[in-house]
């Protein structure tokens, strides 16, 4: 049941809501408005002259090969990160669910990566994979694999996928552990007595019962991969080499802050906003509070 607190008068509720409202306006509404406003203008690199250009910025994006490539790249990146991170989270959760001894330790350790700041995670991987001095780079070198993410675009792209996925595994793990625990034990036992074993039992009984969790996680992972990986990518490759790791969020930053195309960058932000609104709407529409609670 939903509990509602009732207040008398209007002043107290207003005062209580004000700080949250102020934060929302200052950090969300206002920047969003600025993005909208900028997206229909063109400003010169020095910020001295601004003119209204209508949808020219958007039209330019629609015709831009670079932007289309970034979009496809981001799509591939999102799918890869989501699949990898969710599969790993699920496998680990299944094992954690089966573990009898050391269950608590196992779970706690698996949650740790989530507590690492994205930029720090990148730094850790730089230590491991730095083209000249990285530990893993050296090992790979001995195996005859020439690993250099700073010059090899494919390797750089693969690397950010792996790191982004690694970072998100914990999150998926927690939700899958909770999901597995909510599968009634007796249902699994009934299936066992019906003759189901091993993977078949998982596929026909547990996996379908995890559907709400899976759907929820797909949306969350997609949003994470698309929007939350900026710090990680920027700290590791800054979008390079070339544009090999330039996802849409990285491109917004590069175009706007580095190349000073404020209008074009703002237009990209608006598109991203539309995408995120769409994804959130889907999530609320189909899972709402169900998957979380």
């Amino acid at each position: 049941m939903e509990r509602r607190t009732l207040f008398n008068g209007r002043l107290l509720p207003a005062v209580l809501v004000l700080p949250q409202l102020a934060i929302t306006i200052l950090f969300f509404i206002l920047p969003a408005y600025k993005a909208f406003a900028e997206s229909v203008r063109a400003t010169d690199a020095f910020g001295l002259h601004t003119s209204f250009v209508g949808f020219a910025n958007f039209l330019h994006l629609a015709r831009s090969n670079l932007y289309q490539h970034a979009m496809i790249r981001t799509g591939v990146f999102c799918v890869a990160v989501t699949v990898l991170a969710m599969a790993a989270g699920l496998v680990l959760a299944v094992f954690a669910d089966r573990a009898i001894k050391g269950r608590a330790i196992y779970r706690t350790l698996l949650i740790w990566p989530y507590a690492i700041a994205p930029a720090i995670a990148s730094v850790i991987f730089v230590f491991l994979l730095q083209p000249q001095i990285g530990l893993i780079t050296n090992l790979l070198g001995r195996l005859g694999i020439d690993f250099d993410y700073a010059t090899n675009g494919g390797q750089a792209f693969l690397l950010i996928i792996l790191i982004a996925a690694w970072k998100q595994v914990s999150y998926n793990f927690i939700f899958y552990v909770a999901g597995l625990q909510s599968v009634p034990r007796s249902v699994i036992e009934a299936a066992t007595l019906d003759g189901a074993r091993g993977f078949h039992r998982f596929r026909t009984m547990i996996w379908p019962l995890l559907t709400p969790t899976t759907f929820f996680l797909i949306i969350v992972n997609f949003v994470y991969a698309a929007f939350d990986t900026f710090a990680l990518i920027f700290a590791l490759t800054a979008g390079g080499p070339g544009t090999a790791t330039e996802t849409l969020v990285v491109k917004v930053y590069r175009d706007g802050v580095i190349n000073l195309d404020l209008g074009g960058s703002a237009a990209q932000s608006v598109i991203l906003m539309a995408i995120i609104v769409g994804l959130t709407a889907i999530q609320f529409r189909y899972t709402g509070k169900r998957a979380v609670s």
């Binding site: 007796s186 009934a190 007595l193 019962l209």
Partner: protein, 367 residues
């Protein structure tokens, strides 16, 4: 159809022993009910047979074959769970078909079997529904259907009626018994409800603290409870117990509450002044005006319609309950007598039943 034999089946969880070695043999088609209070080990026993728990000691033989270590999926046993454990994402049809598909049965045959079972259980109109769209009674029937279509060697029931309301319970209880008799499937049935146990069982096993306190036909257990625990557990309302001492060479007992009662079915072993417990069921004690009658101070009267329950205390302060036909006499103190052939004699210390040394003439059958 099969026989089941348990040999010294024991289960320990860490340092706690839940089951102290149970021996049991079920004949083909027999319905054996395991009854006991919560925590007596009855569910553990069932789960061991199903293979959902591993025994710490002992063997399980199904049709003479040792299945103790066998994977539960390969035991050919069906279980009806307390919460039914229906597969929530599957329709009623698919719930029943799941086990059959795993057996590798062909689709048309699966459909035929399910039609048949659904017909028996009145589920034909519900085959397309999901479990969440069913009432409690319907879910229970689906759980039954899922068990019977498999035609397993053994049925296990884990308190299958405890989630139903009282009225439905009586009906489903009868349905289960009829079905089991018709299908002649060997069954183990766990319950904490002694009425369920009495009505369903060919034989019942009363469990107490991880041991089989008594195994026998329901009437035998009712008429000759093996110890005080069984005596108090089986029968509603519960049996009265009066402290007493053995006198007259074991042929009579002096109650702490005053009067002396004869033990007409024969002398009990034990020197005079041995402490014993005399038990009598509330419906067997009588209102009396005779010279040997003892006073009972009435504390509470519960009218049940055609009968009345009288709660009171005897002269030694012990509680006593009486069930009489018709209304209770309007008096603060009434006089009662204990008919000799309805008395149960237990050792005061061990609680074990004391049988007569040389059985006298057969005691009259007890109602």
């Amino acid at each position: 159809m099969a026989t089941l034999e348990l040999q010294g089946l024991a289960k320990r969880f860490g340092k706690t022993t839940v089951l102290h070695g149970v021996d049991l043999a079920l004949t083909d088609g027999e319905m054996l009910v395991i009854v006991g209070a919560s925590g007596c080990g009855k569910s553990t026993l069932l789960r061991l047979v199903a293979g959902l728990e591993e025994p710490s000691a002992g063997r399980i033989l199904l049709d003479g074959v040792d299945i103790t270590g066998r994977d539960p999926a390969r035991r050919d046993i069906a279980m009806v769970f307390q919460n039914y454990a229906l597969y929530p994402h599957m329709s009623v049809f698919d719930n029943m078909a799941y086990g059959l598909k795993l057996k590798g049965m062909k689709r048309p045959e699966i459909a035929r079997k399910i039609e048949e079972a659904a017909d028996t259980l009145g589920l034909s109109a519900l085959l397309g529904r999901k479990p969440r769209e069913l009432s409690g009674g319907q879910r229970q029937r689906v759980a039954m259907g899922r068990a019977i279509v498999r035609e397993p060697k053994l049925f296990l029931f884990d308190e299958p009626l405890s989630n139903l309301d009282a009225k439905l319970r009586v009906q489903v209880r009868a349905d289960i018994r009829k079905l089991q008799k018709r299908l002649k499937v060997t069954s183990l049935y766990v319950t904490h409800d002694q009425i369920e146990a009495m009505t369903l069982a060919d034989r019942l096993i009363v469990m107490h603290e991880g041991r089989a306190a008594q195994i026998g036909a329901p009437t035998a257990v009712f008429d000759k409870p093996a110890d005080r625990y069984v005596a108090s557990f089986i029968g509603e309302p519960a049996m009265n117990f009066c402290s007493a001492t053995l006198i007259a060479g074991g042929t009579a007992a002096r109650l702490d509450a005053g009067p002396t009662v004869d033990l007409p079915d024969g002398a009990r072993a034990g020197a005079d002044d041995t402490r014993i417990t005399i038990g009598i069921r509330p419906q067997h004690a009588l209102l009396s005006t005779g010279a040997d009658a003892m006073p009972l101070t009435v504390e509470l009267i519960e009218p049940l319609g055609s009968e009345t329950l009288i709660h009171g205390r005897l002269a030694d302060g012990s509680e006593f309950m009486l069930r009489v036909a018709g209304p209770a006499p309007a008096a603060e103190t009434i006089k009662i007598s204990l008919p000799a052939h309805y008395l149960h004699v237990f050792d005061a210390e061990s609680g074990k039943r004391l049988e007569p040394l040389t059985p006298a003439l057969s005691a009259p059958a007890m109602p």
